[in-house]
Amino acid sequence: MRLSAVNLTCQRGGREVFADVSFSVAAGELLAITGRNGAGKSSLLRIVVGLIRIAQGRLILEGGNPELSIGEQAHYLGHQDALKPALSVDENLRFWTGFLGGKGADAAQAIETVGLRDLGDLPAAYLSAGQRRRLSIARLIAVKRPMWLLDEPMNTLDAAAQDRLTALIRAHLAEGGLVLAATHGSLGIAGMQQLHLGEQDR
């Protein structure tokens, strides 16, 4: 599996966010997208999953399921956690697992992996920001999808949870997954590709 972008240009509200961005990521590889605020890191991820229309350029996925769009084969972890405060931790994850086509047993396993098993019956409203983030990460494990698109995944996580996420990303890569991550800091993963957005001449 290989995901490539050729001369992608993104426009939002008539303003050009970035232009002529190209990259190529193969199975088992991680692409770290860096750049200052507003350089278009989030926009690039949203273009890839199909939430923003491509202004110019192309996205090519080789070796995926040709009947599905890229977004349908990818997990997107955005800034927001997509959790409903009125539902319990279990109910939240079970819903996304069911909606994204996974099995209930995997949801239970995923809750365990992110260390929220004890809180399963609590409403999501009671969780701290870090706990909410972990619950949202559990979605990535509960349903298998080959591509992970992570927007500042380490935000709000404490050191232990960051280590755990790094391990999860490593495991995903080892299984032949493919990761695109917008990030400020290091993800602690060796051999990652880097894509720097904006002001490349400076």
């Binding site: 956690d81 009125a86 819903f95």
Partner: protein
């Protein structure tokens, strides 16, 4: 569990939990109907004559005012992005959300209508006709209103805009819903004709609504 089944259960669950507002629509319906006689006067014959019209107007307002959070809530917490990325067609996703909304907001109105009809001196036959028209007509209101909810999804004053956008579109439903409900006792127009047209309007909205709403969401999400 199928993706759409999971979505239906989740949406219904949220609306009956604290902060969900499943019953606020019925409460609004009741308050509006109860206020009418203060403006019109307590003349029972008059109330009986215009009762179906009052109940239909109240049901229209109640089902539309509750709609503004239909997509906005999912937009605000990022759920909408993921709903758009699911493998289920977006048209079916929005139709499922509208169905869940109707089951928790529209159906209670239909169930409450005969009791509230008592306040306006409707008798059993009027009540039956009214319930039937509401049962058939309120899904049309939800599915037409859903388009407005999708268009106003990212706007701050979405609720008001929704009403302004959608109320004119509901004119045909209101005309034939009230006509069918009133013809049951006034004999103005045959019940069958108006009721058949009402059914046709509902079927049309069930088809058009999801496509329009899905298209609007795809535009708005950017």
């Amino acid at each position: 569990m199928t993706p759409l089944g999971a979505l239906l259960i989740r949406d219904m669950r949220i609306s009956v939990r604290v902060g969900g507002g499943a019953l606020i629509g019925v409460l609004f319906f009741l308050v509006v109907v109860a206020l009418m006689p203060f403006a019109i006067g307590p003349n029972l014959l008059l109330l009986k004559r215009i009762g179906p019209a009052i109940l239909w107007l109240a049901a229209l307002l109640a089902s539309l005012l509750a709609l503004d959070r239909l997509f906005a809530a999912d937009h605000d917490d990022g759920s909408l992005d993921l709903l758009l990325m699911g493998r289920a067609p977006l048209e079916l996703v929005v139709a499922t959300k509208a169905l869940a909304h109707w089951l928790t907001t529209g159906l209670p109105l239909v169930i409450a209508a005969p009791v509230i009809g008592l306040l306006l001196n409707l008798d059993a036959a009027d009540d039956a006709a009214l319930v039937l028209t509401l049962l058939v007509g309120t899904p049309a209101l939800t599915f037409i209103g859903m388009v407005g909810a999708a268009i106003a999804v990212a706007l701050r004053r979405g609720g008001l805009l929704l009403a302004v956008l959608v109320l004119p579109l509901t004119v045909p439903v209101l005309i034939f819903g009230v006509a069918a409900a009133q013809s049951a006792f006034a004999g103005a127009a045959p019940f069958g004709t108006a009721f058949t047209i009402l059914c046709a309007l509902t079927l049309a909205s069930l088809v058009v609504g999801p496509f329009a709403a899905a298209a609007a969401l795809r535009q708005e999400i950017e």
